[in-house]
Structures are given as C-alpha cells and as structure tokens.
Amino acid sequence: MNIIVRDLKKHYKVKKREVGLKKIKQLLKPEYSTIDAVKGIDLQINEGEMVGFIGPNGAGKSTTIKMLTGILAPSSGDIFVGGLNPAKDRKKLSYNIGTVFGQKSQLWFHLPPIDTFKLFSKIYEVDNFEFKKQLSLLVDILQLEPFMHKPARQLSLGQRMKCEIAASLLHNPKLIFLDEPTIGLDVVAKRQIRTALTEMNKRENTTVILTSHDAGDIEAICERVVIINEGSLILDNPIKSLSGYLQNNKLLKFKTAHDISKLKMTAGIEIVSIENETVNLKVPDNNDFLSKIIVNLINDYEIEDISITEPSLEEVIHSIYTEKSLRGSV
C-alpha cells in the first residue's frame, strides 16, 4: 500500500486561557489561538517500504500518523493511502491498516491475549482459516506461545507489546503504523519486535511506518528515515546516508579547565558541546589525524578523562535537530 502526501497541514484552535475578569469575557466571546502542528509536509512512501519517523516531542510525528490513519482530519493538503482518502474512507481503509499506539492498549486487561486476538479476527472479519494461519505465523515470529494464555495484566511490558503488535497484524494489513512500539522495553524484547516487523515486511510486503525515540529501532528496521521537527520535514533520506555519517566521524570527549573555545580549528573538527569543563569534539575518523589532534591537545592543555567514541545515531539526530547541516558533512 503506498502513501502520497501533498502539502499536508494541520493547525489546532486552542481556547485562550485567561485569568481574572478576562475569564468572563472568554466565556461570552471566546478567543482562540492557533497552533501549527504540521506545516506543509510532502512525502511519498512506496508499497513495502519501511520508514522511520523521528523527531522530538511535539514535533508533529503523531499528528502526522493520526492524519495518515484517518483519525485526524488535515486542515489542508492531500493524503492518499492506497488511493483512498483516510479521513473520508476511514472504515474502508481500516481493514487494510494496522495501528499500534504505545499509549493506548488494545488488549482486554483481565483476559488472556488470545481472547483479544479472536475478538479482533471477528472485528476485522477475518475468516477462521486465515485467522489460524496468520495467528500461527505471529505466534512463531513473536514467540507468543509461553504467555498468550495468561491474563494480559500478568504480562511483562515486553510480552504485552508483542501481543499488541500481534493483535494489529492479525488481519494481515498491507500497512502498519507503530507509534513508539519499543518504549521501555529491554534489549531482547526490542530485538524480537524488530525481527518480527522485518519478517512481516519480507513475507507479506507490508509497508511499515514507525515512530520512535529509539534511534536503534530505526537503524535496525528502517531503510529510510524521515525527520520531522516543528511541524516540518527536515530530512528524508535513506538510512545508509546517516550511517555513512556515523562511520566517517568520531566523538572525542575530554575534561579540561582551560578555555577551549579558542582552540584552533583544523579542517573537519567541530565543537559539539562544552559543558562543565567537559568538551565534545567531532573529528574525522582518520587514525593519523586523530592522533595528531590528541597530541596537540595534550601539549597545549591540561586534559583529563579523554575518550574516543562513535557518535550514536541519536547524536547524529540531535545535531540535525540543532540545524547543523548534515548534507555538508556526509
């Protein structure tokens, strides 16, 4: 299922909160202020793609996802999901899409997940044969067998999230949206969920759209990353171009009491941050170059606690948020 988004905008009207006498005025003649949550996004996602949406809180990721699933109507712009307009054909579309919203559980709390699965198969009008087939596939790839007959309330967070994902995939949707699917999960559970999503994508060519704070998720699952900040799309790149960035740079971290801001900048070195005498430098990943820099630093300043690390995807993203141009340094 492909997605086409053209100049998508969403603004909310919010009643102004007033104090004192103005409160009465507000009752009689409410004044509104407008919040622009999404400010014109263009996007095309092809069938079978796995795309990660990242962005800080309040960036407009969830709002965009909600508009794509049809539970929020856009203020302007066009959306086509599999040729349908989600806000108008919400019911029709719902048979072909699956959603997992981290904040909203779909499982019946006191019942074993298997009961929710059966219920969902009826809600999505899946016939028995298909249901059994799909269930056994999901049980297999998410390894649900040990706990799907226990009441949901007794499950660990990871087990529950796996069941949430299974519930959303039972009707074999052509497109699945996951809003923060691995939030708070341990490494093992995260890995299983990532594998399952990749597996579904391989087998059924399911389009996967995922939002996450965890850059690791995006790295492990997605081929393409879309970064949204303050309602605008600031980057839409294949994930490879980001990992290229990772491989070409190292992060040099050290402590010094000296004023480092006057440090002579050789080509390619960049101060990422200076906080409480701790300095972070971004340096090109080149052994000779790196050792030269370190020698220079040690000669010129009193330095403690020096370390060299790979910048994580998270740091890359952080630097993108702070509007350091990525394209220039790749």
């Binding site: 909310y12 909600k66 539970i71 929020l72 109507a73 019911k91 019942l111 929710t116 809600i123 999505y124």
Partner: protein
C-alpha cells in the same frame, strides 16, 4: 455482511461476559448490596402495609417482587457511562475511530455481556431471598419471553440516555452532574422504590409521559401483573423512545466525531 456484523458484535458480548466472570468477587459484593436493600424494604413495606390487603392495587407480595425487578435492573444495567465520557475527555476515543466498528454499538455490546451476567445473578439472589421471606408470586411461564424483551429494551433505552449524557463530554468539561440528575430521575420518576401507581395523579401523569418509567417501572409492573395490552403498550412506547434517542445519540456522536477529528484529543 449482516452475518459478519452479528458475528462481530456477538463476539464483543462474549468477550465481555468472559471479562465479567473474572470479577466474580465484585459481583458478589454488588449482590450483597442487593440483599441488604431488599431486606430493609421488606421490613419497611411490611409495616407500611400493616393490615391493608392492597395499596393502589398492589398486594404486599407484589410490591416486594416489583422491587426485586427494579433493583435487579438498576444494579445490572449497562455501566459504560463513565468509560465513554472518560474516553471522550481524554481523547482516546480517537484511537477507536480507526477500527471497523461503530464506537457506540461496540460499547453497547461490551456492556451488555456484563449486564446479562449481573441481571441473571441479581435476579436469582433477589428472588430466593424474597421467596423465603415473603413467598412466591403467581407467574406464568409464557410471560417470560415478553418480559425479557421488555427488560432488554429497557436496557437499550437506558444505554441510549447514558450514552447521550456521556457524549455531552464533547461539549462540557464534566458530565458527572448530568449522570447524577439522571440517576435521581430514575429513582423517582422511574419508580425504583415506589411503583408509579402509588403516586398522586399529577405526578403519575408526569412520570408516565416521560421515558424513565419505561426502564424500571414498566418491566417490573409487567412482571407482577402481566397483561397482553399492557405489554404491547409498553413495547410501543419503548420502541418510540429508542428510535428518538438513537437518532439524537447518532447526531451527537457525529458532531463529536467531527470535533475530534478536526481538533484532536
């Protein structure tokens, strides 16, 4: 298509029944409340009747059995009001919009499953208690089906009113005051404790014009004194109000949904 829809919602009800059975302890607590209430009113009505054989056409035994039915319905009716209004206020109702069912219908069946279990248990417990203390009531087996139908329609009618109030949360910040008013209406004008026939004429007129009597009084009075004409009369009135309220509910729901999809949670 229709079969799949029936299948869908009957499964919702089935799961809800299963879910209620998990709370077996809570059902017992509620039932003990019913026992206490009935016990008190048996004492009250017994002394109120004194030597009188009947009041407003009701014998003591009929009044007590009437109470069994009204209390059973009140304690077993669909309890989805707070959940719906909560989901409206928190905005989490939006998440259900992406599912192929009607939110209000889904919640009806989800509540109905639970309601059936309570109805069954409360009625059995209440009947056993009253049977022991007061004795049996004359009752024809052939009236079971029409009475059950009227009870079911009463539950629907109540759900529609509760639903309308709950959806008012789209426009108000707090609807608990409306729930409170409705429950008091049901107590008095619905004939919870005192059959409407006992009321003075003017109040009887008000009570029988409004729909509240169709939820408690109508099924209970039919149970203690069945007649085909009374049954049909109740049935028509119930269907009439159900039609009206369904239309209003659907309208409120659509307006609310539009508000939700245009302005978020």
């Amino acid at each position: 298509m229709i079969i799949k829809t029936i299948d869908k919602y009957s499964m919702v009800m089935g799961v809800s029944i299963k879910n209620t059975l998990v709370y077996s302890k809570e059902i017992l607590y509620r039932t003990s409340f019913m026992i206490l209430l009935l016990f008190i009113f048996i004492q009250l009505w017994t002394s109120a009747y004194g030597d009188e054989a009947s009041i407003a056409g009701y014998t003591l035994s009929q009044t007590i059995w009437y109470l069994v039915v009204t209390e059973t319905i009140l304690l077993s009716k669909i309890a989805m009001g707070n959940q719906i209004s909560g989901e409206v206020i928190s905005g989490s109702l939006a998440y259900t919009l992406g599912k192929p069912y009607h939110y209000m219908v889904y919640n009806f069946f989800s509540g109905l499953g639970d309601s059936f279990i309570r109805l069954f248990i409360n009625f059995i417990v209440g009947s056993v208690l009253v049977f022991i203390i007061i004795g049996p009531i004359s009752f024809k087996v052939s009236t079971i089906v029409p009475i059950m139908l009227v009870v079911l329609l009463a539950l629907i009618l109540d759900y529609l009113i509760i639903g309308m109030i709950a959806l008012m949360a789209f426009f108000m910040e707090d609807v608990s005051s409306l729930f409170f008013i409705y429950s008091k209406m049901l107590f008095i004008l619905g004939g919870l404790l005192i059959p409407i026939d006992f009321f003075p004429g003017w109040l009887q007129n008000i009570a029988t014009t409004l729909p509240f009597n169709l939820i408690l009084f109508a099924p209970a009075s039919l149970f203690v004194n069945f007649s085909i004409s009374a049954f049909l009369n109740i049935l028509y009135q119930q269907l009439f109000w159900i039609l009206i309220f369904s239309l209003i509910l659907e309208t409120i729901y659509r307006i609310g949904q539009k508000k939700l999809t245009s302005n978020g949670g």
